[in-house]
Symmetry: C2
Subunit: 242 residues, 2 copies
């Protein structure tokens, strides 16, 4: 089946977690909005499709035949089961999903580093607040989340290579994106992270070395991080220069 | 099976979405941390249980036999399947979960109305920022989310009585809590909401009238909203007096 992914065309954003799963699965998909103007129109139209009673609240959403599935973690739950990107047993599947929901919470906080007062104001109009938010984010939230993920990796009964069980899952793909995104956004704050979270960084490298992921990252399909997305590099939000 | 729910003992918070599901299911459960000091110790201990490789990131989490399940929406996915609080078919089950994840996003934003700069600062130390956040929240976010839920209700092919399909699901229970919580937090901003979102309000009343929910709400097990939880009533964050 050919999927249609609907997401904003110019940012990696939340859509990237879905793209990574589609790419690792070797799935056939259209990145609809990247067709240009007509693609963005299609994204807006489908979101309000009067024939679809299961309306998504926001992009990303995925069309799989007649089904339209919204919410990043929910899309991954769906793709994980279909493309062996999650354990087959219930306990493993729900554990992977639980981790993905914790990643989603973290992504929300990462977004708030540059928009603590909400998305309706420009960054420039909440820069001072963003600095205060980012300071506690760097000092407390990165260590809290990364410390947690590192602990989970170390406690995996099937070994430290993957987050869940003995095979790659969509959770690993998402954590790779988190690590690289935070390095992009907060290069100074993250300078010592590889030493502190060595298992997590090893995981990111293992993900990057997967043949399909490596090919994807080298392709034009991969959108670079930029300052319109979730991970933004504003030097004033990063740790102070030494 | 008797469940153990682990959540902070003095606030409804995110735990309340789980409590409502347990109560509607007529499930046997301990609200562990409400046993007093020893209960809070148990909550902290279980969260770092060295024998559990599937560590929760934060409360609420639920013990079901040997399994420990974290993340509110994930717990509801689990309980929904076990206690007929979600559709049986895959499409319906995932649609309910998608809606619950959208509720989770909204709950995060509700929390941010009083803590836009993060939870490590007191409200008093971010009151000015909270006022700015709350203004856009009242003007844009409540209409966006409530408008969406109202639309979904109206488009339910099985009728407007429930959000998903033809029976009560955990999504309905959570929306009841959202409506009442926002009324508590923003009484002036919500004064005209019942007129605008009449289906959603009718749903909240239908939920409240369910015999088990009615009994629960009248019991001491139901924690009242208060200013330590997610829904807080700070008059300065509400709409201006007329």
């Amino acid at each position: 089946m050919r999927y249609q992914l609907y997401y904003w065309p110019s940012i990696p954003g939340r859509g990237e977690f879905v793209r990574l799963a589609l790419e690792q699965a070797g799935a056939d998909y259209d990145d609809v909005a990247r067709r240009g103007r007509s693609g963005i129109d299609a994204l807006m139209r489908e979101m309000a499709n009067p024939r679809n009673p299961m309306l998504p609240f926001a992009p990303p959403y995925l069309k799989a035949g007649k089904r339209v599935i919204g919410q990043t973690a929910n899309i991954l739950l769906f793709l994980g089961a279909r493309h062996a990107l999650a354990p087959k047993d219930d306990a493993g599947r729900w554990w992977a999903h639980q981790l993905q929901l914790t990643i989603a919470d973290f992504v929300g906080e990462i977004h708030d580093t540059h928009h603590p007062l909400g998305s309706s104001l420009y960054y420039e109009d909440q820069k001072r607040e963003a600095k205060r938010y980012a300071a506690q984010f760097r000092a407390e939230r990165i260590p809290k989340y990364f410390g947690y993920f590192e602990r989970v990796l170390k406690k995996n009964p099937r070994g430290r290579r993957w987050m869940v069980g003995g095979r790659l899952t969509y959770v690993d793909l998402s954590l790779f994106q988190l690590v690289r995104g935070l390095e992009y956004a907060f290069p100074r704050a993250m300078a010592s992270a590889e030493r502190k979270y060595s298992q997590l960084y090893a995981l990111a490298q293992t993900v990057e070395a997967q043949p399909r992921i490596a090919a994807y990252l080298a392709s034009a399909r991969r959108l670079p991080f930029n300052n319109d997305g979730i991970f933004r590099h504003y030097p004033e939000l990063d740790a102070p220069r030494r």
